[in-house]
């Protein structure tokens, strides 16, 4: 593996720029970016183009798709427009997904960094703590948290974050253990950098690539989580979301397949796009794959 073959351009480039060049060449990842951008645009601005209130009862219940031109995807069990529902229901799903992933990363990186950097009893204690959280079945624990406290979007994001961080912690720990013995860390220590500075300014930036990939995949997992909780009726009952749409229409999905099918397709497309992006980032950050 010679360094000269890394990119087609001869001049030296920053690792992030190199990764971006790799990422741009990855077709599935670009498709993922396109799908996700479209979904985000639709949830942000769709309501301006397609005016209609997702909560209003506008037509007869269970109107099939493609029958009435005003309601191309049909109506739900109450007679609410499904297109409006899909456009409105994306925002809470995406917001909870992103917020939960952020919480996951903050807890996971903090625990993993401390464990990997200090080692010894700190590592031991923190890893036992992590193992404890891995024993709790995540969805069940999140269900308990959301039911015991108020079922708001914030609580759901916190609950998902609290149950999802152990894997991030393990990954961060492994990266920190690998990097902390490298020369540039020793050099930073030699010029008198304190532990805090070494951890967050020296090691963390170098541990970022796998963490960015993991953060991306965590967004996907968190979206699925939110969907599962809303499906069970544990989401915020006053906020339309894709999971809630499936859950509230599940009683008669054998008579009307469309109100449960379309929101599921949206969840699938979103998570699919996110995972394509995650895979693309993974390949882009992997120096072994750059030669291909």
């Amino acid at each position: 593996m010679s360094d000269s073959a890394t990119t087609t351009t001869a001049e030296a480039q920053s690792p992030l720029r190199e990764a971006w060049i790799m990422f741009r060449r990855n077709k599935p990842a670009l498709v993922g970016m396109a799908i996700l951008s479209l979904i985000i645009l639709a949830t942000l601005y769709g309501a301006f183009i397609f005016t209609g209130d997702a909560y209003d009862i506008v037509w007869a219940p269970h109107e099939p798709p493609l029958v009435t031109p005003e309601f191309p995807l049909g109506t739900d069990y109450l007679g609410r427009d499904l297109v409006a529902g899909l456009l409105t229901g994306g925002a809470p799903t995406l917001a909870v997904g992103a917020a939960a992933a952020a919480i996951t990363m903050v807890i996971g990186v903090a625990v993993g960094a401390l464990a990997g950097f200090f080692g010894g009893w700190v590592d031991n204690a923190l890893m036992r703590f992590t193992e404890f959280f891995q024993v709790l079945p995540a969805l069940l624990f999140a269900m308990v948290l959301v039911t015991l406290f108020t079922p708001s979007l914030t609580m759901i994001a916190i609950a998902i974050g609290v149950v999802s961080w152990p894997q991030t912690a393990r990954l961060t720990r492994a990266e920190f253990m690998k990097i902390k013995n490298l020369e540039y860390v020793t050099a930073a220590r030699a010029i008198g950098a304190k532990n805090g500075r070494i951890m967050w300014r020296v090691i963390l930036p170098n541990a970022l690539p796998p963490l960015i990939v993991s953060a991306t995949l965590t967004v996907g997992v968190a979206i699925l989580f939110e969907a599962g909780l809303s499906f069970l009726g544990l989401g915020d009952p006053n906020t339309m979301s894709w999971g809630l749409m499936i859950g509230s229409n599940r009683a008669d999905f054998l008579e009307a397949w469309w109100p449960v099918t379309f929101p599921g397709v949206m969840i699938f497309l979103t998570v699919f796009a996110v995972s394509l992006i995650g895979d693309g980032l993974n390949d882009a950050f992997n120096p072994k794959l750059r030669e291909r």
């Binding site: 079945p137 969805l139 015991l148 406290f149 599940r250 497309l269």
Partner: protein, 324 residues
């Protein structure tokens, strides 16, 4: 080995004690009077009922005494009384645990066997068509919500190709039939729930087996086996897969918690009478004792599964056997 097993079990008990302590504080952190939280939405939570809850849980005692009463009770299998179902929680769970274990194991078997087989065949030609198909299936499997997969299968098999039962675990009309008929009936009912759950997790194993086999197939001992004239099947499954199996076992253990979470969702779709439907009913009624009992028991299942994974890891990898 024996010392290792004992140590592993003791550690498991310690983890369970941790779960109990967490449960204990969760109830007390929830807004409101713990006695009322425990009574849940039982409707007529009269002053007498609340007083009896306070006495049962020692809620008038100091916090540490309360914790001790709760902890010792839980570890002896007393998961408390469900005020909604008006039965001990351990009894409620005892009826429901069998179906959940059946579902989880069936799904795990489907996921591991089909997933691994797909991964193995995909690894033979990493750039080939089948390999790409497996990668696509793996990505799709990761992105489909498990409950939605169940609903789609129900729609498919209830209205379009009605060949599988889509609800419950057994046909009541067969309740007086011989046990073999009833057993087959249960397996017949198990098909769709197990597949909904299995398909989601199959993706993980297909991906993992593919990566792991690509690594192993390049190894010297595989070339040696081929040079000795071993058949392709023998090379793939006897020489290569045995060595590629270690990461699969590790992940199978790690996925167990996720599998239980998925089972809870799938159960509610198919009305499968397991712990998931129990948890769901309990949550609708705000029956916290039952909910926390299910959480405790499901965590115990994960602990046991982890111990079994560790042991099978040692059996699969002779290098680990000598360590204690």
């Amino acid at each position: 080995m024996a010392a290792y097993i004992v140590r592993r079990i003791l550690y498991g008990i310690l983890l369970m004690a941790g779960v109990v302590i967490l449960n204990f504080f969760l109830i007390r952190l929830a807004p409101g009077d713990p006695a009322e939280v425990i009574a849940g939405d039982m409707g007529g939570a009269t002053a007498e009922v609340l007083a009896s809850i306070r006495a049962d849980y020692g809620l008038d005692q100091p916090l540490l005494t309360q914790l001790w009463v709760y902890l010792s009770g839980m570890l002896q299998g007393d998961l408390g009384q469900s005020y909604f179902f008006n039965r001990p929680v351990s009894e409620l769970i005892a009826i429901r645990v069998g179906p959940t274990i059946l579902l989880v194991i069936a799904a795990q078997v489907i996921a591991i066997t089909i997933g691994t087989a797909m991964g193995v065949f995909a690894a033979r030609k990493p750039g080939g068509l089948f390999s790409s198909v497996v990668s696509v299936i793996a990505t799709i499997g990761y992105a489909v919500p498990v409950f939605w997969m169940g609903i789609m299968l129900v729609i498919l098999f209830a209205s379009i190709i009605p060949i599988f039962p889509v609800e419950g675990m057994a046909d009541v009309r067969l309740r007086n039939d011989p046990w073999l008929t009833r057993m087959i009936d249960i397996l017949y009912h198990l098909c769709l729930p197990a597949f909904s759950l299995g398909i989601i997790f199959l993706a993980i194993y297909a991906r993992l087996a593919r990566a792991s086999m690509i690594d192993v197939l390049g190894a010297d001992y595989v070339r040696t086996a081929r040079a000795k004239g071993a058949s392709e099947g023998s090379v793939l499954f006897k020489h290569a897969l045995r060595n590629a199996a270690l990461p699969i076992i590790t992940v199978a253990g790690l996925q167990f918690g996720g599998l239980i979470s998925g089972a809870l969702l799938v159960e509610t779709v198919f009305n499968w009478p397991g712990m998931g439907t129990l948890a769901f009913d309990a949550i609708l009624r705000r029956d916290y004792t039952t909910m926390l009992g299910v959480l405790f028991f499901a965590s115990a299942m994960v602990v046991v599964a982890n111990i079994i994974t560790d042991l099978s890891y040692r059996i699969a990898d002779p290098r680990l056997r000598t360590e204690t």
